[in-house]
């Protein structure tokens, strides 16, 4: 596809850099910026997590990457539509079809021979605990089973880019473990996987993380890079911090943590090393308080 100056451009040339992604994309939605110059690199054979709360822009970003939405500006690098497996947040399976019919339909829509599709899905269904549910209607599956079916359907055509919108939200830890096995298997087979989540302990399992807040980048890079790029210092305190410190404090694990921006001297408490959860919390605090250096970005991009 051609690149139009000033507008959004897409291209399949992205894989030269070993992956796909978006460069400096912005999206306007109902008069506000849903995404503000967001860059994401989705490396092949790797899981990239986009983390943020409701309204952060995660779904908009994934829709742009999957080709379901054209950004107002910036560039999208993605493979041809048939090489993208996309699981939207709103399920991605047909409730009135059985598990088998859902997969057959997907295979037919992508021009994959039925025999080949069944061979490919058989092992995935078995390992995901769905083998005995082949003839059940997707609408009658539990939430966890339905999500696993959605991911298997998205993986069925062996896509080069797998885009999963909140695959594990509301899913219990046992089903989540099955979903992560499928995700790891896709990455191990050389697929670039991008998924969204609201939980950092889940994002920590990815090789790279992008944290969004209200359409802005809060932090990006490998978990280690994000932690290393935290501005200022972190200290722990036992009691609720008084005065001005309280605005830069939050409670975690029954104790208080206080962030001191660069150039400030800390009050009481003991210095501590931030982890990924602290780093993203600090980035959100910095943004909330309007402190300089509010993006915590690693150096990979």
């Amino acid at each position: 596809m051609s690149r139009r100056p000033g507008g959004a451009a897409t291209g399949a040339a992205g894989d030269e850099q070993g992956g796909w992604g978006v460069d400096e994309i912005s999206v306007q939605y109902r008069g506000r910026l849903a995404l503000d110059r967001i860059t994401l690199h989705a490396a092949t054979g790797q899981v990239t997590a986009v983390v943020g709360g409701d309204g952060a822009g995660k779904t908009t970003l994934l829709r742009c990457l999957a080709g379901a939405l054209a950004p107002g500006s910036g560039q999208v690098r993605r493979p041809a539509a048939r090489q993208i497996g996309y699981l939207p947040g709103s399920s991605g399976t047909y409730p009135d079809l059985t598990v088998r019919e859902n997969l057959d339909f997907r295979a037919a829509a992508y021009g994959l021979p039925a025999g080949q599709a069944r061979e490919r899905s058989g092992d995935l269904l078995e390992r995901a605990g769905l083998a005995g549910a082949r003839d059940r209607l997707a609408g009658q599956l539990s939430g966890g089973m339905r999500q696993k079916l959605g991911v298997i359907a998205a993986m069925l055509t062996a896509p080069r880019l797998l885009v999963l919108d909140e695959p594990t939200t509301g899913i219990d830890p046992v089903s989540r473990s099955g979903l992560w096995w499928l995700i790891a298997r896709a990455a191990a087979s050389g697929c670039a996987v991008v998924l969204t989540t609201t939980y950092l302990d889940e994002a920590e399992r990815a090789a790279a993380v992008l944290a969004l807040d209200a359409g802005h980048e809060l932090a990006a890079g490998t978990p280690d890079q994000i932690v290393a790029a935290v501005p200022g210092t972190l200290r722990g305190a036992v009691g609720e911090p008084p005065g001005e410190d309280r605005r830069r404090a939050w409670r975690r694990g029954g104790r208080w943590r206080v962030w001191d921006p660069p150039g400030t001297t800390g009050g009481g408490g003991t210095a501590m090393e931030p982890d990924l959860q602290d780093a993203v919390t600090i980035a959100a605090l910095a943004r909330e308080l309007g402190t300089a250096g509010s993006t915590v970005t690693g150096s990979t991009r």
Binding site: G45, V174, Y199
Partner: protein, 296 residues
């Protein structure tokens, strides 16, 4: 009144639905100032247990006591409850929601917290989810309940917002309330003073996170060739999980893992043991007892 005894007691509580046992001989206590985390897979019996505590469902066997008494409308008044669906009326404003719940419980009407005042006259249904969640919390706390019951309270919330919600929960506990909270996320389990893990209707572990993890260990494989290593371990039917660029294998020793790898991790592969995470220990506890999903 409460005296010094626990706020909520389940004593060998069971609940049958026809042939199906949803909750089987569960005992737990929530004391003043405690935050008890209830963990379990779907179908483990958490929601049934909560419904019995709320007095919405009688126990088939065993004893449920709230503030020393069987569940009733009177005990319900002393409970603040945030269900998964938040339980707000979308076409009422936050102030009207609070007013309604105060009237329903026969409690004194409370003011909205300052942070919600700018939205006092907006219909709840048109507020962003994060704000709706704060309204649900304000409503659950508005009658200064002695016991808070929270069902996945921070679902969909960003990390800073989640920290703020936990400040509210911990603040209520510091003021003497007892809290029972369910979550699917182990990072939240660290906010609890004690944990109860349920599987198949039974309590399979309880204590603090370090107590539950105990000496459980996993084998970690660190290698640039992680994809090949993943394939080899998968071939050996080992329960391998991806963590960044490392692989974690619960339930197998480093020697077993090395044998399964048989060089697939490349010359630079590092195989070593590490303490299990709470989530990994959770699977050990929850999985052997749970039936496979297809028969559920």
């Amino acid at each position: 009144m409460t005296g010094s005894g626990p706020l909520a007691v389940c004593d060998r509580v069971s609940r049958q639905f026809g042939e199906f046992t949803a909750v089987s001989e569960v005992s737990l206590e929530v004391g003043a100032g405690e935050i008890v985390g209830l963990l379990g897979a779907n179908g483990a019996g958490k929601t049934t247990l909560i419904r019995m505590l709320l007095g919405l469902l009688p126990a088939s066997a065993g004893k449920v006591l709230l503030f020393g008494n069987p569940p009733s409308r009177g005990t319900r008044r002393r409970i603040g409850y945030v269900p998964q669906g938040l339980g707000l009326y979308d076409d009422l404003t936050p102030a009207q929601n609070l007013e309604f719940s105060a009237a329903a419980f026969g409690a004194q009407r409370r003011e909205l917290p300052a942070s919600l005042l700018p939205y006092a006259d907006t219909q709840v249904g048109s507020l962003p989810l994060g704000l709706q969640r704060r309204v649900a919390f304000a409503q659950a706390l508005s009658h200064q309940p002695d016991l808070l019951i929270l069902d996945e309270p921070t679902s969909g919330v960003d990390p800073l917002g989640r920290a703020r919600l936990w400040e509210t929960i911990a603040g209520a506990a510091s003021a003497g309330a007892g809290v029972l909270v369910t979550t699917h996320y182990m990072e939240e389990a660290g906010e609890c003073s004690g944990l109860v893990i349920m599987a198949e209707g039974r309590v399979v572990a309880e204590g603090t996170a370090p107590e539950i993890i105990g000496t459980a260990r996993v084998t970690v494989v660190e290698t640039p060739a992680w994809a090949a290593a993943f394939g080899a371990l998968e071939e050996a039917r080992m329960p391998v999980a991806l963590a960044g660029r490392a692989l974690r294998v619960p339930g197998a020793t480093p020697d077993e893992v090395r044998r399964a790898l048989s060089g697939a991790g490349g010359p630079g592969a590092r195989v070593h043991e590490a303490p299990a995470t709470l989530e990994e220990r959770f699977f050990q506890l929850a999985l052997p007892r749970s039936t496979t999903e297809e028969s559920a």
